[in-house]
Symmetry: C2
Subunit: 222 residues, 2 copies
DNA sequence: GTCTATATGCGGATAGAC
DNA sequence: GTCTATCCGCATATAGAC
């Protein structure tokens, strides 16, 4: 009960440090020296345990993305079961997609917050093309399953419009995750009326996804 | 009519090259060697003309952000004038905010597309804290004027919720600008039914901003 | 204003002792 | 598995000739 200070192994220490520094300063701007110093391990440990800086970044993604996407699919499957053939609910499916990252972020505390920042950054084209592959391969099943669900919920919306709108959802979500700390401060600005960033986002994108089609034309707006 | 090849000066060549490379690979991952090679100028030219790599990035921002935000304010002022005291229209104000970056992007062609990618990247925390200041100082007046306009349009929505929703708008916009090339391909996937990415975005965020408040509770959704 | 040459330091990665 | 020492290339930045 008195020596767990050094009990933490080298690998997770490196992962934690890398996660935080990549999130704060970006992949290219973070050196292995920064990481090993922060993790209080030897410089050579990164290459010994992970092989290279790029492989380390992959490992950072691996650790967090899988549980999030598994939870998304679990929630979606649950919805499909309890609907038993009936069309799904727009709010519900959006919630299945959006809730897991917010939940896991809370569950993981500060480390989770940093990771989400890194994810948001990656959405905006950080890192090389190879990194993008390593990142997006984790989302293939998610994209297929959720797109299909939304197509069934909104059969009248042309697919192109639907797919665009899903991109807007992703954009709003990514931005919210990146700035979650500041936005949460905003949510609590009035202590008599604390609101949930997540719930507000869900409300917003549900309205956006359900916006009636076709939209106003330029003429209507002027 | 036969020698304009070398007529272009060094400074704009550097700006163009830097804009493109910062957008594609990020600030930290782009070296002055990459830039001067792409611009076909001497390595020392950057430091001679701009002083440093960071100052060059500032200059890249300077050149493009000002015209966009001036146009935003011009459109908003125009709306206020023609409304002559009446409350403004939600669609109209959102359009005044969102249209200028899309218009300028088109106007500037490939260079504009790259710049918008860079802006989207910066929204997601690229670069250092100093760079952020240099970036966001261009938006102070925009934030004040537009926030005020939205508060008047949606007086029943608590300010915290309103401010959060504006962040969602910014997130969807930034993501759309970053991925504009791919999303435009999506918009034209069906040649019989080409749609406008911008109009679809406007429709989406207008519905989101106008979503009724208070939202469903967690209980309603389950 | 533009060039070459170079100062100076940091980057990822590794060899080899322990 | 962990350490020190080091390779070697590339980074930004500058000095000084033209």
């Amino acid at each position: 009960m008195a020596k767990p200070l050094n009990a933490q192994q080298t690998k997770p220490r490196i992962l934690d440090a890398a996660e935080g520094l990549f999130a704060e300063h970006g992949f290219a701007a973070t050196s292995l020296r920064d990481i090993t110093k922060e993790a209080a391990v030897n410089l050579a440990a990164v290459n010994y345990h992970f092989g290279s800086k790029t492989a380390l970044l992959s490992a950072v993604f691996e650790r967090r993305i899988s549980p999030i996407n598994e939870e998304r699919l679990r929630l979606l499957t649950e919805l499909e079961k309890s609907a038993s053939g009936q069309p799904l609910d727009l709010h519900g499916v959006l919630r299945a997609f959006l809730l897991p990252p917010f939940l896991k972020m809370q569950e993981w505390g500060e480390s989770g917050r940093k990771f989400m920042q890194l994810v948001g950054r990656t959405h905006s084209v950080e890192a090389s093309e190879q990194m993008h592959e390593a990142f997006f391969k984790h989302f293939e099943e998610i994209i297929v399953r959720f797109t299909h669900a939304f197509e069934n919920i909104l059969p009248e919306l042309p697919k192109q419009n639907l797919h665009l709108r899903l991109q807007f959802v992703v954009g709003a979500m990514a931005h919210t995750l990146v700035w979650s700390q500041k936005l949460d401060q905003l949510s609590k600005a009035d202590p008599n009326h604390p609101i949930s960033t997540f719930e507000e986002l869900l409300q917003f994108v549900a309205a956006g996804m359900g916006a009636k089609h076709p939209p106003h034309t330029l003429e209507d707006i002027r």
